[in-house]
Symmetry: C2
């Protein structure tokens, strides 16, 4: 059918270790085509980049608290064990994106230093290794105010639009659209999450069939992170 | 490939008018299968339900302001022409969900009175009309703090989970997951938006291949809307 999308989980990736080249692992496990968007979860990006820090396992679920404080440039809210803070990247999320799950005991995982750069590295690696021109989204799981449940969003992009600007287009009545900017990178990340699950060991998915107009240089940092001056909730 | 999802735009729906039975229109236009999730944009749900109110077209982009005030139970922020407010449903969104685009001049569209009920009506209608057991998500386009760009989210569900609770499951190291609740309904709505575009006249999409465990009774109101008492940002 015209305009269909397919979302394919990538099975068979090995456990990722610091120093691994993700593009090589993905190229081996996935059958990629030009125009695909490859969504890669932050967890394996951070692991490959060695963004692991030791924590005291005796502290249990609170083991990463000192790391959270260090990774936060501003704390927005605290309640019990939950800290909602802004990171150096400008992301606002729980625990500054520091995570204890899916890593070995005594370790916590930090966000990549620059996930746009991580995405570019994977994109370029796949071009070199598999000869394909793809977009890449690095995704992470964030909460949000007002709505329960977490969704996967983009923290880095390469070769696929972060935000698509519909400014200047018109609705079906020919009037200017008041809805102008769609965050397709977040929608791609969320769509990929639907085939990944949380504990099934599928950290990569392929979205096939995206609008070719979206395949362009991009940056989550420049396009999605809202500057505090234009933010009504900071 | 195991666990793939397909997202299919539904082409050929007529312009929806008050009184139209959406299940009948969708059944005619789409080739549905048991287990599909049908995502329907709020705009045509509201139109079919007659949720249109007259506005003064001479006021231009501000024509819906009096309606926005009426539909808001609490205003969280104002800046220029933008109002971020809470609706009677508990949604926090721009302009209380009142919209001027894609309707005739001199009209504004309100949110459905109860979009979970709207979703149930479409789900039941499709069962009767097409003999298929499907899930239904009613979607709308919302902004959010801290991140630029809009994404489609669920405002009503029937027959498909709103939030999937992963509490009690473990990560690949056997430790309890700290990420517990995934808002699959919002991810389904966003995925569907990727094939709809904003001005292409595709207000319905089918998500095929979702985890059968997600096909259950559900409610956005009960599962996604965060009660003010547990909300750090209200």
């Amino acid at each position: 059918m015209t305009g269909a999308l397919t979302i394919l989980p990538v099975h068979g990736l090995p456990e990722v270790r610091p120093g691994d080249v993700l593009a090589d692992l993905i190229a081996l496990a996935a059958d990629l085509a030009d125009g695909d968007v490859v969504v890669v979860t932050q967890k394996i990006v951070s692991k490959a980049e060695g963004r692991l820090v030791p924590v005291d396992p005796a502290l249990g679920a609170r083991a990463h608290r000192p790391v959270v404080e260090r990774e936060s440039v501003r704390v927005l809210r605290r309640r019990g064990d939950l800290v909602v803070s802004e990171t150096a990247h400008g992301f606002v999320c729980a625990n500054a994106g520091v995570d204890l799950s899916n890593v070995g005991p005594g370790q916590a995982v930090l966000l990549p230093v620059d996930a746009d750069r991580s995405a570019r590295r994977i994109r370029d690696g796949l071009r070199g290794r598999a000869g394909v021109h793809v977009g890449v989204v690095v995704s992470d799981t964030f909460g949000r105010p007002w709505r329960r449940g977490l969704t996967d969003v983009a923290i880095g992009t390469a070769g696929v639009a972060a935000v698509v600007d519909l400014r200047g287009t018109t609705d079906t009545w020919g009037r200017p659209l008041d809805v102008t900017e769609v965050c397709v990178a977040d929608e791609l990340a969320g769509a990929a999450e639907l085939v990944m699950g949380k504990a099934t060991g599928v950290p990569v998915a392929i979205v096939r069939g995206v609008d070719p107009a979206w395949l362009r240089e991009s940056s989550v940092r420049a396009e999605i992170v809202r500057p505090p001056a234009e933010d009504l909730f900071r």
